[in-house]
Amino acid sequence: MFDNILIYFVLIPLVMLAGVALSQNIKQIRAVAVTGSLALTALSVYLLVDYLKLRAAGETAAMLYTDSWQWFAPLNINLAVGVDGISIAMLILSSIILLTGSFASWTIMKPKAFFLWLILLSTGVFGFFISIDLFAMFMFYEVALIPMYLLIGVWGSGKKNYSAMKLTLMLMGGSAFLMLGLIGIYYNSGLNSWNIVEIAENGSIPHNWQMFLFPMTFVGFGVLGAMFPFHTWSPDGHASAPTAVSMLHAGVLMKLGGYGCFRVAIYLMPQAANELAWIFLILTGISVVYGAFSACVQTDLKYINAYSSVSHCGLVLFAILMLNTTAMTGAIMQMLSHGLMTALFFALIGMIYGRTHTRDVREMGGLMQIMPYLAVCYVIAGMASLGLPGLSGFVAEMTIFIGSFEQGMADYVGGHGSLRIVFTIIACCSIVITAVYILRVVGKLLLGPVHDDHHRQLTDATWWERTATATLIICVAAIGCFPNFFESLIKFTFSPDIFKVLGMIQ
């Protein structure tokens, strides 16, 4: 069991849990958290390198490092693991955000309990990304959800009770649909298997069942992916959550939604995905512009960012629904990009909030003069968000637009309706709206004269804050500057799947 590298993605967090539980003081807790997340980062990078090596050597299986251990044998439930390029990308993302999140919560109160829950959450996240067994996936998915309640409820701010409850209940509502969908897949795939790869390769879910199960799973994951109209947990939840939790939640957990939509809903039920895509295209297309427009008039920094996440994550689901290699590649890139950049945003907002004790843009101004480091980072994050070339957002969005346009035009020219193309153009409009709200915030918050003279005494970032933000910025810039590396990693590794998916459709 322990010769499989993937299992360490769950074991390390578990060891970290034990370590934190045994720690005596905050220094030890920090040490455990940072060491552990560094180890995870290193592991994921190693995995990436090794994986690329294997692929270069001509490995063509859909999933590598697959392994399976019997668990609930009579029901064929196994602890099956395996990764492809997407999972690896997500693992890297998660470990980086966990690392930076640890830095960002350097001085959190009640650190022990906080880190216990945080690491439990990440255990769920890592477990989710390495699992290829529907049951295990679902279990890890829920493991990742519930710590949010306490993390927000105990360490949050504002109307945290309401937000925490709303977030938890809505996400659990999603997982209710999801559970039904997953069990339905199990019974109707004709294989009595929970293994995604097996079902995808050999299973045949009858068409009418697909039409029922696809919406179930897609909505189930879509709730976490902040799909309109199930996104309302996001603004409140993010606004109330403590920094590291917002980071992990927006940065990683929301990606669980997109990942799940792809990995389960579309991967296993392509026909239904093709036929029902229009419903969800409309919803996600609305998400994209709707989130952006909503963000334009918010005054709370976290609300702005939360709505921006709705918009960006909507783009992820939107691109996935294009059922086209390019757009899907873009979707994965967008997940990576949005994960990093929104984590950066939330980290910065947390740091600013920690100093000014307000998140209302109307009560701040001219922070560039007071805390230049944080302000510059904020501008960079904003630029990434509005899709400046050289930063990650541009690459992702462009790939999505090109892919969506390709598919949309193919539909239009092929006489399959103009829905895709219309919504692609609508989605394109988001680049302008994004610019509007990002610049609005940058202008109000960072530039201009100092709004509140009390803010003049505030200090700039501390070293741990610098570490956290710098790491994220480097990652954002790395993706933005060398996109082909990341994109070909993803595309190369998952194109067999997608071609299969598309092959099944056509």
Binding site: Q70, P74, K160, L169, A176, Y187
Partner: protein, 493 residues
């Protein structure tokens, strides 16, 4: 007249031996030695449980045994069921030691144990009985002494009120139940399950349907299915905490099994599986109404009463599944439910014994004063709500999976409704967590205290169960192997 048939009833007889030992200990031994009765009972019940579990793995018990011309049946599945109950009773016993040793209980603790053991005996009969007379006697043995136990807390008025409500509704319910039985008898001419099953095949007369409805009502009363549940909350609230926990887990669990047996064995061949549709409606109403009531409760015991009502609805999903997986899932669900609920009641009992407080508001900030108790409570709540990696998640998942195995759209809708209800239930379970962990602004009403060893032991066992039962797949796998190997119409069928 072959009296050797009694030998088939090893578990019942051993239980009666335990009962007699306790009875004689209570009546014969001098007052001085009486202080040990709680420990003594727990100990010998523990031995009995251990023996019973050990016997389950003995190859000689691998076969189904029928006695009294089919009136009584036992076999691996049934033994497993009984052992699940035994484990639960053992935990209840351990948790109640402190309470039973209280000053107030001295004069009646012997009777407490005796009554408890008799009710367990009654449940055994319900599970093993394949004749409605035996079933009825079992049902009554499991109900009537409980009424006395509910009234044990003589200081508290609520205890009396609860006893009255319980007894009156119980008798009413058994009257309805017997009315139903009389109709069944009129149709089938026999009260043996197998006979009924044969005679009632394809029956679709009004009489049969009404009879079935009455039988379901009678058993549903003990399971507290809506709308037969109204006694539950009052009784749970009024009864002494150990009795409440006993009522909520053991009595409910046993009845669930018995219900399964009755429906499948006696009414399984009913016209177009009418019982499934009845159950379908009951499940929806039960889960929903239970949840709706639970969200407003302030008293934790009352709160858990409603929670247990909705849990009963989930348990019934295992019955409606009507397959081996369903049976295994039901057994597993009850097992997990026993541990989860007992952990919750363990905490409530400990707090009540120490401070007398049972309101949710009193628990505000418990995590600051009694972090371990708060942790136990939280785990229990998570497990009840079905949050992984705690056992409750697995039991819920499997019971849904078992139900969905049927594959009809109707069952999907049912499960969807149940799943949506889990959101509501999550809400109120989280309310408890919120009280303990989040509402910490004001100092906690409950001062830090050290709970008794027995209470801690009980909690440890429950928490261990919550943590291990799910992730450790052996338990479920064992149960599922057991039920599948015995086949759909094995001993239980």
């Amino acid at each position: 007249m072959d009296y050797s048939q009694f030998l088939a009833m090893k578990q019942e007889i051993s239980l009666l031996v335990v009962f007699l030992l306790v009875f004689f200990y209570d009546t014969i031994l001098p007052k001085k030695a009486q202080n040990g009765i709680a420990g003594f009972t727990t100990l010998i019940f523990g031995l009995f449980t251990a023996q019973s579990i050990a016997y389950m793995f003995c190859p000689c018990s691998a076969q189904d045994t029928t006695a009294f011309a089919g009136m009584y049946v036992t076999g691996p599945v049934i033994m497993a069921i009984k052992n699940i109950l035994n484990i639960g009773v053992l935990i209840v016993l351990i948790q109640s030691i402190k309470w039973a040793n209280g000053e107030f209980m001295i004069v009646r603790r012997g009777e407490f144990y005796e009554l408890l053991l008799v009710t367990l005996f009654g449940m055994y009969l319900m599970i093993s009985g394949r004749h409605f007379l035996i079933f009825l006697i079992g049902l009554e043995s499991a109900s009537l002494p409980l009424a006395a136990m509910v009234a044990f807390d003589k200081k508290r008025y609520e205890s009396h009120e609860a006893a009255v409500k319980y007894l009156l509704t119980a008798v009413f319910s058994s009257a309805i139940f017997m009315m139903g039985l009389s109709f069944v008898y009129g149709l089938a001419g026999s009260l043996y399950f197998t006979d009924i099953n044969l005679m009632i095949f394809g029956e679709n007369s009004a009489l049969a349907v009404v009879a079935l409805a009455f039988v379901i009502a009678g058993i549903g009363f003990k399971l507290s299915l809506v709308p037969f549940h109204l006694w539950t909350a009052d009784v749970y609230q009024g009864a002494p905490t150990p009795v409440t926990s006993y009522l909520s887990v053991i009595s409910k669990g046993a009845t669930a099994f018995a219900f399964l047996v009755v429906l499948i064995q006696a009414f399984g061949m009913f016209y177009e599986e009418v019982w499934q549709w009845m159950l379908y409606a009951l499940i929806i109403v039960t889960i929903t109404v239970g949840n709706l009531f639970a969200i407003r409760q302030k008293n934790l015991k009352r709160f858990l009463a409603f929670s247990s009502i909705s849990q009963a609805g989930y348990i019934m999903l295992g019955v409606i599944a009507f397959n081996a997986t369903g049976i295994a899932s039901l057994m597993y669900y009850v097992l997990v439910y026993i541990f989860s609920n007992l952990a919750a009641f363990g905490v409530i009992g400990a707090v009540e014994n120490a401070t007398g407080k049972v309101d949710m508001d009193d628990y505000n900030g418990l995590s600051n004063t009694n972090p371990r108790l708060a942790l136990c409570m939280m785990l229990a709540m998570f497990s009840l709500a079905g949050i992984p990696p705690f056992a409750g998640f697995f039991s819920k998942f499997f019971i849904f999976a078992a139900a969905l195995q049927q594959g009809s759209i109707a069952i999907y809708i049912l499960v969807l409704i149940a799943l949506i209800n889990t959101i509501v239930s999550l809400y109120y379970y989280l309310l408890v967590v919120k009280a303990m962990y989040i509402k910490t602004e004001e100092p906690c009403q409950i001062p830090a205290f050290r709970s008794a060893c027995s209470e801690r032991l009980g909690l440890w066992i429950s928490v261990a169960g919550i943590l291990i039962l799910g992730v450790g797949a052996v338990f479920y796998n064992y149960l599922l192997d057991l039920t599948t190997s015995m086949g759909l119409f094995g001993s239980i069928m």
